[in-house]
């Protein structure tokens, strides 16, 4: 049991929180037909992360998240500006801005020396779920022991905070978010400031991407923003089911990936162990494929 708490629980919680948060917010991207924006935002935050890291010299949550949010804010404004100034459709403007931001981030990474220090590309892309451990855990009582809790991986705290904020925001702003996702022009005619709402949503998505990428990697962040929402999109006509089901599916995929990464190859008689993040991504893809098949059978 202690071993479970020390070695298995932290990655399990991280995968559930990351999958759940991305799955929750992903529905708004998919419903607004802006799925690319999740990919874009999770890349566009890089210069902010690097600057936050360079200024403080710490890979701690606060400066990184703050830098990422500023970068996401600027990227969102830049996308809107490019759209208007260059008369480009949204996808083209998004592609232009996020590659520019990502490139700037890479340059900053070299210039500041952050790369040699700690921001490792493999870790950014694929995460480090397996390295999350809670060695201070000595049993369930450790959950009530402040000293032991302080030893929890810091990524878990950030993930939990972002999950809480995202969950509260979606719950409290349920109706305006639905309205803006369906018919932004009508929402604006009612007096809602659609641009600000979209900015808020983008910042939440950027925060979720930053909180999640360290543990599950940025590729999986993109997958978890899109796959659960698309799977639900294929399976339900109800808005509440779409949004809440997306969160549940994301969390479930995260849990399944972590729990099966060890036993699955063994059951198949393979002498390898699977990367949990990779398995989560594979399962997400399989679920979407399964939903596609089910949907085409129904039609």
């Amino acid at each position: 049991m202690t071993e479970f708490l020390q070695l298995d629980l932290p990655p399990l919680l991280a995968a559930i929180l990351a999958g759940g948060t991305c799955g929750l917010l992903g529905s708004f991207l998919v419903l607004r037909r802006e799925s690319l924006l999740g990919d874009a935002l999770s890349h566009a935050v890089l210069p902010g992360i690097v600057v936050g890291f360079a200024l403080t010299g710490l890979r701690s949550a606060g400066p990184m998240l703050l830098g990422a949010l500023v970068a996401a804010l600027l990227a969102t404004l830049a996308i809107g500006w490019v759209r208007r100034a260059a008369r480009l459709e949204g996808g083209a403007a998004t592609g232009l801005v996020f590659t520019g931001f990502f490139a700037l981030g890479l340059v900053l990474l070299e210039l500041t020396g952050a790369r040699s220090a700690d921001l490792d590309v493999d870790c950014v892309l694929f995460g480090q779920l397996e390295t999350l451990v809670w060695l201070e855990a000595q049993g369930w009582a450790s959950f009530f022991d402040p000293a032991a809790l302080a030893g929890m991986p810091r990524q878990l705290g950030l993930l939990a905070a972002v999950a809480l904020v995202a969950g509260l925001a979606v719950a409290l702003f349920w109706r305006p978010l639905q309205l803006i996702a369906f018919d932004p022009a009508f929402a604006a005619s009612l007096g809602l400031r659609v641009g600000r709402w979209e900015m808020g949503l983008n910042l939440l998505i950027a925060a979720a991407a930053v909180a999640a990428f360290e543990s599950v990697g940025s590729i999986l962040v993109v997958a978890m923003l899109v796959c659960p929402a698309v799977a639900l999109r294929l399976m339900t006509d109800r808005y509440a089911m779409q949004v809440l089901g997306g969160a549940a599916l994301g969390a479930g995929l995260g849990a399944a990936g972590v729990l099966l990464a060890g036993p699955l190859p063994a059951a198949l008689g393979l002498a390898v162990s699977l990367n949990a993040a990779g398995l989560i991504g594979t399962l997400a893809g399989l679920v979407v494929a399964g939903c596609l098949v089910a949907r085409s059978r129904m039609a």
């Binding site: 109706r175 639905q178 309205l179 009508f186 929402a187 005619s189 009612l190 007096g191 006509d237 808005y239």
Partner: protein
């Protein structure tokens, strides 16, 4: 009497190309059709007045007031093609969106608002379709859902962007009946419209646009062959 709607010196351009030039116009109460060929700026007039697209210059007034003070009394009905009808929502969900400014933002839709939304659906002949997913409605039924949503706003002035485009006969009859009902209640409707054959029988006034005001006023005096020929480039009017 205060005009229900007016614009003064409205200029709008897309990518430097003017779409509306110096439009100054005052609507009279009742039913107004906004006519003109494709690209005449009919939808642009409504969108710019509502602040949905930026205007280069000009001012719009709704019931004599700036938009921010009149919003609760103005209903907007966008073009049906402007949204994704595969969206996971029922007809009732969509109509209830009209009441978002009057509801709390979380939890279930309050009973009174649900009833108001149901009544609006009944008014457009869709009482039995309240729970149906909007993607499973016909084009005409979808258009009536939008009309019901506008009705549910309880407005005094309605701006409708082509609600009669490509609809079935039942929907056309329903929309006309709703329009006349609104007029009887003393409400005003500005409707972007294509079909010139319905104007004389159903509308009080017209605004004929072709990038600028070609003609405006009561149907009897402004809806002339000469004005139509001028707006539609000398060609016979579209039907």
């Amino acid at each position: 009497m205060t005009p229900p709607f007016s614009v003064t010196g409205l200029n709008v351009s897309y990518a430097g190309r003017p779409a509306l030039r110096d439009v100054t116009w005052q609507a009279a109460p009742g039913l107004t059709a906004i006519l003109g060929p494709n690209g005449a700026g009919k939808s642009t007039l409504l969108k710019a007045a509502l602040g949905l697209i930026p205007a280069d210059s000009g001012e719009a007034r709704f019931l004599g007031l700036p938009l921010d003070q009149a919003r609760a009394r103005v209903a907007y009905l966008p073009q049906r093609a402007s949204v994704d009808w595969d969206f996971p929502a029922s007809a009732l969900d969509i109509v209830a969106m009209a009441r978002v400014p009057h509801m709390r933002w979380w939890g279930p839709v309050p009973r009174a608002e649900r009833e108001a939304a149901r009544a609006a659906l009944a008014a457009v002949g869709l009482a039995d379709f309240a729970e149906r997913q909007i993607g499973r409605l016909s084009g005409g039924q979808q258009q009536r859902v939008f009309l019901a949503r506008a009705l549910a706003q309880g407005a005094d002035l309605f701006l409708m962007d082509e609600p009669m485009a490509a609809v079935d006969a039942v929907t056309e009859q329903t929309i006309l009946a709703v329009l006349h009902g609104l007029a009887r209640e003393g409400k005003s409707v500005l409707m972007v419209h294509h079909d010139l054959s319905l104007i004389t029988a159903h509308f009080d006034q017209v605004l004929i646009l072709a990038g600028e005001v070609v003609a405006a006023g009561p149907v009897a005096t402004a809806f002339t062959d000469a004005a139509i020929a001028r707006a539609f480039g000398g060609l016979p009017g579209r039907t």
